[in-house]
Amino acid sequence: MPPRSASKPSKKRSNPDSVTSSATGPVPSASSKKKASKEVDGTDKLFDKYANASSGVIDPEGIEKLCSSLEVPHTDIRILMLAWRMKAERQGYFTKGEWRIGLKALKVDTIGKLKKALPELEKEVREPLNFRDFYAYAFQYCLTEDKQKFLDTETICQLLDMVLGSTFRAQVDYLIDYLKIQKDYKVISMDQWRGFCRFCNEISFPDMTNYNLELAWPSILDDFFEWLREKQA
């Protein structure tokens, strides 16, 4: 799970799904949508296993439980990917609706199936078009306040590591070093965040010979470039 900020649940969600569900099964109906409803039922059952009974949503604790069921560390990127699939809005929480969307998209209804679906999910997310969306989502997901537009550099460092670390180890390590040392930027915007990904994808590293200060790279990357150049000299 991506790092949580100090719990300030000021983001109010109207959650139609936070109906306290009992552990009873569905009422058998003569509906032709039996199969579909069965699926939903399975999904719902699974949801209930991890959801907080009083709030009706899966909370950070529940997610931790989920992670251990999936045998995935809770700081693993795959949980973030799952959140993305679910279009989860609030970091650290899954609503029933989001759960349903996610599991339906993955075509799973048991924990075992979900676990097996994770590699496929990862592959799908890493497709260029999806990754772009996922990458932006990662930032968005960490915003906790209503009008918040920035993330602190510490969060960004962790996020960078999680999201880009496996593909761009060197760049990420240097970026993190820089972010920790520099004093000009205390927070990072979405535009800057996007810039990091673009940088990793487009700029040859570590020579950075195709980096051009005259272009519209966010100035934090200009500063990073100059810092690294000096270091290399």
Binding site: K149, S189, Q192, A216, P218, S219
Partner: protein
Amino acid sequence: VQERFGNQSFRMERKTIDLEQGWDYMQTGITKLKRILEGLPEPQFDSEQYMMLYTTIYNMCTQKPPHDYSQQLYDKYREAFEEYINSTVLPALKEKHDEYMLRELVKRWSNHKVMVRWLSRFFYYLDRYFIARRSLPPLNEVGLTCFRDRVYNELHSKVKDAVIALVDKEREGEQIDRALLKNVLDIYVEIGMGQMERYEADFESFMLLDSASYYSRKASSWIQEDSCPDYMLKSEECLKKERERVAHYLHSSSEPKLVEKVQHELLVVYANQLLEKEHSGCRALLRDDKVDDLSRMYRLYHKIAKGLEPVANIFKQHVTAEGNALVQQAEDTATNQAANIASVQEQVLIRKVIELHDKYMVYVVECFQSHTLFHKALKEAFEIFCNKTVAGSSSAELLATFCDNILKKGGSEKLSDEAIEDTLEKVVKLLAYISDKDLFAEFYRKKLARRLLFDRSANDDHERSILTKLKQQCGGQFTSKMEGMVTDLTLARENQTSFEEYLGNNPAANPGIDLTVTVLTTGFWPSYKSFDINLPSEMVKCVEVFKGFYETKTKHRKLTWIYSLGTCHLNGKFDHKPIELVVSTYQAAVLLLFNTTDKLSYNDILTQLNLSHEDLVRLLHSLSCARYKILTKEPSTKTVSQTDSFEFNAKFTDRMRRIKIPLPPVDERKKVVEDVDKDRRYAIDAAIVRIMKSRKVLGHQQLVSECVEQLSRMFKPDIKAIKKRMEDLITRDYLERDKENPNMFRYLA
């Protein structure tokens, strides 16, 4: 058929003339003509002879076949020339050389033209019908062509050599027969029969080559031996002579070509060596103020494509160096001397820069004929050194201080009004070179405020005059606030009159103290910190009374009191004699505390007045540690500390009856720079939004450059700053990056 000639009518028996017979007759005429041309004693043709010859041709052409001899006569006409040329003309020419040959040629050409004229008159009838019918060249042309083919083609090369030799002789200073050369060269022109080809190919091209190599040789030795001015004089002279040459005997079309060649050899090939000559080149001339030589240099290089660029460049470097030297001088003086002397030096710098500008503007206008290259060079030079910092002060600040010194009382009282106007004019012109114009405006505004509020302005007319000049140069927006300030003062005076009337009509409201209030319109004036000092009760009453009055005038405005700008006159009842103290409101507040208590500690005062430590220390220092010790401090150390205590100094006295106790001014510089930086951020934002709103989509580099251009009237924006503002606007959802091209931006409505 009858022809009429003169008065006689002629009847000729139309007996058939046979060719041989007719030609024999014609020969007599031709022979006669030749004799005339050869200068032999031979009378001229009379009209009867002429007519006979003409008629013979006529008849032979109009006879019935097989006796119509037009073709044969046409051929014989040409043969007549050929025969004469071969037998007489050519041999005569071939045996002569050089100038003699030239003379002979001129003579023979002239003769030939006469011969053509006469013979073509005799044979005229052919011209009328025969040549047209057969599309043949007319007689005139035939005649000239004979000379061209037989004489000219043979000799033109030799002739050309002889001419060029004479030209070079003349160049070396010898006298030559110019008329002769003119006549010879006319042949080249005429032989072209309407085209300049022969002249150009057979003479001019060689002449140009020869001229080029002549001047090349000269230049290579002159450039070693002569100084730059001397070389230029020689060049100018050469060009003059060559132009004269053209006027005297070359064809006018040769002038531009010849001039170009000479210029090239003398001025283009050696341009660099000439201009950069160590002790006499362009730099040295500028250094030594050699105005005439520089004017000559301009004249010479003006006509050469891109010739002025190196000159303008050296000019720019020279002016820049001079300017930099002035700046360095001021910097050195400032670091070596005490602060107040240093600031005088800085003012001297501005004066010197103005003088430098005047001096070199004269150069631009007079030596360099106001050519745009030099205006540009001057401008760029000034832009370089006028934006340097001197002893920590930006040029914007120096200039503002300079203006303040002229406009304040005791500043420039020795100068005449005219001199002041003139100086103000020049100062405003200098402002054009300063990139941080907004910084100047802010410093100016701050100092203007001081002058206006403390009645330190020397002359209202001058104040308004400079604002007009600034407006003209920088636009209305630049001066609108300042003008507002000046207007405020005028209104304030009227307001004060109404206030006094009001007090007159409401004696109960009278605070018992003479109160003058100046109401300032917030937007116009610099921002002042004003914080809530606890005023003494007398002053509180004043404030309330004025508030009451003001509300009768308008209910919609809020009054914010700026005590830091107030002045107070107190009567100090000292033991020896009473003295009027002119102090700031804050100082007054401190002093009035001692009306009720004899001794107060620092903390007492702090609590009672509710001031910051920094401000209080400053105030107490001015009253107890400076020149006039109105309060005695315990312990009597040189600086104020928080453990001190203070007492009214009843023993204080001075020979004056009224003294001013100044507060050392707070350093405005930091605040001004901060304010300007803040304004710039807004200005950059506004410019970006404005541009994007109208363009909708724009590439990064273009956006940056348009932004810089839009803002350049006021300041030179830092590219990094623009980038940061753009990113901020992205976060605030004014702009977004294009999805395909992240270097492209879109406006978000």
